[in-house]
């Protein structure tokens, strides 16, 4: 001990019948070095003997672990789904409002209102207008709307960062393979991690392409090769004639990753490695 104070055991300063306090001490306490806690506890009068000490410790440890488990499990996949959907809503709302602003702004301030049709220029124009000093009540309203667009866009960005940080904690394997945003989207499309874990890989492959799938089932179209996973580099970066194979390989490993994430939660880097190998093989087909 560098500061001269001895490490304190979990039981110190808490009454032996205060289960809640003891559980908190187990969860929140720490020590540099272990000591002979059972003997020290008996010596300090915390427990009559070591058997009583272990009984008390086990009760408090079960309480602590079960409280911590519930907290960590508070349906984190559902929180992720909410965050992703909110981010998607924000994109839509921001674009809609930015369009309105472009039209209104152009009429009042002249210029094109930054209207080139894409979202980024709409937001850039909102920044420009928000910085203006309004000269009359009309301009006041326009500048206020511009401020809202800027705020909405900032929140969208914050939510995106949240999803990127959270997805690997909710589904480490899925996020590693799909990337955090696509992982979150697949979980959202399925309705949760458990639901995704129970889907066959053929369903994972076309999640998000439901319209095309139903058109196919009614005999109006060929079967879709991919849904939301299209944005993945393994699909998009593969030549069109091999994209179906790449999408099937990717979906297969995503389905496995979702199962591992749901049932064990353990990170298994071998899934990524196997997929990479498989994609390399698919892509090298056309090269010889």
């Amino acid at each position: 001990m560098t500061d001269g104070t001895a490490d304190r055991g979990w039981f110190e300063g808490v009454a032996a019948d205060d289960l809640e306090g003891l559980a908190r001490a187990i969860r929140e306490g720490s020590a540099e070095r272990p000591r002979d806690w059972p003997a020290l506890a008996v010596e300090a009068g915390f427990a009559d003997d070591e058997a009583a000490y272990y009984d008390c410790l086990q009760a408090a440890a079960i309480d602590a672990a079960s409280a911590a488990t519930s907290e960590r499990e508070r349906a984190p996949d559902q929180q992720l789904v909410h965050a992703l959907r909110a981010a998607e809503d924000l994109v839509e709302t921001t674009n809609e409002l930015a369009e309105r602003l472009a039209e209104w702004g152009a009429s009042a301030f002249g210029g094109t209102g930054g209207a080139t049709g894409d979202a980024d220029s709409g937001v850039a124009y909102a920044h420009e207008v928000a910085a203006r000093d309004p000269g009359d009540p009309t301009e006041e309203r326009i500048v206020a709307i511009a401020g809202r667009v800027v705020d909405l866009d900032a929140e969208r960005e914050a939510l995106r960062a949240f999803v990127e940080a959270e997805a690997p904690r909710v589904a480490p394997n899925l996020a590693a393979i799909a990337g955090p945003m696509l992982a979150a989207r697949l979980i959202a499309l399925a309705g949760g991690l458990e639901a995704l874990a129970k889907k066959p890989s053929s369903t994972v492959q076309v999640l998000g392409a439901e319209d095309a799938l139903f058109a196919h089932l009614q005999g109006r179209a060929p079967s879709p090769k991919h849904g939301a996973i299209y944005v993945h580099e393994y699909v998009r970066g593969t030549r069109p004639e091999d994209r179906g194979s790449a999408a099937r390989a990717l979906a297969g490993k995503l389905a496995i990753a979702a199962r591992v994430d749901h049932y064990s939660g353990e990170r298994k880097p071998e899934i990524d490695a196997e997929l990479e190998e498989r994609i390399d093989r698919i892509r090298s087909r056309g090269e010889s």
Partner: protein, 209 residues
């Protein structure tokens, strides 16, 4: 090598199987008070089956890192006096809590084995057996960091998973690296590959030095 007291080969379901005495946990076959210790589901079970001296003994204290759902930890608790079972993932911890409900000597801890300071105020010093089965990179570092709990004559029973360290490297090369780092704090007493029961796993028995 003779098996630790409390562990025996018994005739269960017409087969000679490794077994301990206790409440069944994971649907394993039983015969009277004995329940089969399924070596394919347990690295420590596989180590005993290979006649490795893991240092498990009645009356001893055990710190088990990576207890998962408690499959193996439950057998260890059938034999040892006290088992501190550390697991970091919430989902398996749920099942571990169920196992602890049936065994007064199993103390579940939802903690990160890479950060022993977060449980050194609970786990006692002078531990007789440190079992480690964590699927994380830096398995040697985890063993070194937790050496502080071990008694001078204690034992480390370590299962190294090659793929957790490096998926692409050859397992033998990974094991060599891990053993080299492990030697900074341990003397290696015995080692054996657990294939085919546990693919690309190396079991190590070591003593602190």
């Amino acid at each position: 090598m003779t098996l630790p007291e409390g562990v025996a080969y018994r005739e269960i379901d017409g087969e000679r199987r490794l077994a301990t005495r206790g409440e069944p946990v994971y649907g394993e076959p039983t015969e009277g008070e004995w329940r089969a210790w399924v070596a394919a589901r347990s690295k420590v079970g596989a180590m005993l089956d290979r006649e490795m001296d893991v240092g498990l003994s009645p009356g001893g204290t055990v710190l088990y890192l990576g207890a998962a759902a408690g499959t193996t930890a439950s057998h260890v608790a059938d034999v040892a006096d006290v088992v501190y079972a550390v697991e970091f993932a919430p989902r398996p911890t749920r099942e571990l809590l169920g196992v602890a409900g049936d065994r007064a000597n199993l103390i579940p801890l939802l903690k990160d084995a890479r950060d022993p300071g977060t449980y050194a105020h609970v786990v006692e010093s002078g531990i007789d057996l440190l079992v480690q089965d964590v699927a994380t990179r830096g398995q040697a570092e985890v063993a070194l960091a937790n050496r502080r709990f071990l008694a001078d004559d204690g034992r480390l029973a370590l299962s190294i998973k090659a793929r957790s360290e490096d998926v692409t490297a050859a397992p033998e090369a990974v094991f060599g690296d891990v053993l080299d780092r492990l030697r900074e704090g341990y003397e290696i007493l015995d080692r054996e590959r657990l294939d085919p029961l546990h693919e690309a796993h190396l079991a190590v028995v070591a003593a602190p030095r």
